[in-house]
């Protein structure tokens, strides 16, 4: 499990709202700057499309498990298939009424260290922005934020 990343975020929302934020393209666009497109049924294809409306697929894969609004597992694949797929698991747990504990696990990255490095910087930004979007309706353009010196 040395190449697994686990991110825990607490979000003041219902599990359904967090599920919708991940799976509805117009919501993902707000905080992830990409569209997540799928019917989210087990076995279906999913696409992470560029947010510029070009439809360009940046990441794709297959839905491995789908148990709305509690759990979603997908493969995470480079569209050119140049590396082995990795896997992303979203666990959406109700910690208390109105408070969700979202755990995102990205594993099976052993064969794609470049992807591992990229997502290790990306996930914290995306999930922090997801939290802001779900709680307040506002999100930042995370890819424009410069690191503090």
């Amino acid at each position: 499990m040395s190449n697994a990343f686990v991110y825990v975020t607490y979000i003041y929302a219902t599990p359904q709202k967090v599920w919708d934020a991940i799976t509805k393209p117009e919501f993902a666009h707000k905080y992830w700057m990409h569209y997540n497109v799928s019917d989210w049924k087990k076995g279906s294809r999913w696409e992470h499309q560029n947010g510029d409306h070009s439809g360009k697929v940046m990441i794709d894969g297959t839905v491995l498990e789908s148990d709305p609004p509690r759990r979603l597992v997908t493969t995470w694949t480079r569209p050119d298939k140049s590396k082995e797929p990795s896997r992303v698991t979203y666990d959406i747990a109700e910690y208390n009424p109105g408070l969700v504990c979202l755990t995102v696990t990205h594993d099976q990255l052993e064969h794609d260290p470049g992807m591992a490095e990229s997502v290790s910087g990306g996930w914290p930004k995306v999930l922090s922005n997801l939290k802001s979007f779900v709680e307040t309706g506002k999100a930042e353009n995370i890819w424009l934020i410069k690191n503090k010196g």
Partner: protein, 155 residues
Amino acid sequence: MANSSFVYVTYIRAPQQKVWDALTKPEFQKQYWFGGHQESTWKKGAEWKMFMPQHGLTDSGEILESDPPNRVVIKWRNEFRPNLKEEGYSRCVMELSTEDELTKLTISHTIEKENAQFIQAVSGGWPRILSSLQSYLETGRAHGDTRSPAAQAHK
């Protein structure tokens, strides 16, 4: 080993023996544990069972270690919710120590499964129960049913 865990620490202004008794004796548990109580001799190897008024038996297991009034380890499985029961036995460690005028109580509850629903459930329950325990020992009054009306209706 993949596992899920919940750890909760609280400080209670009461002697350690009183906190131990409140945690392990049914006549005290019923005062603050939302009507629930447990049955056990609390000796190593003994059976352990929890009961709630609306459901009867809710959890069962065994005492794995016992060192009154400092530490007890309980093998603990939920019995009345099928999705929790099928996750199997958890391990609950209760540790007590005296610090200044306070008893420090640490609950460490773990199960060998990632993102376990059982741990999710106890993560919500323990703070309610231990807050009620602290109030009971410090003020004589435990907390009432703090679940939302919707949650009360489900149970």
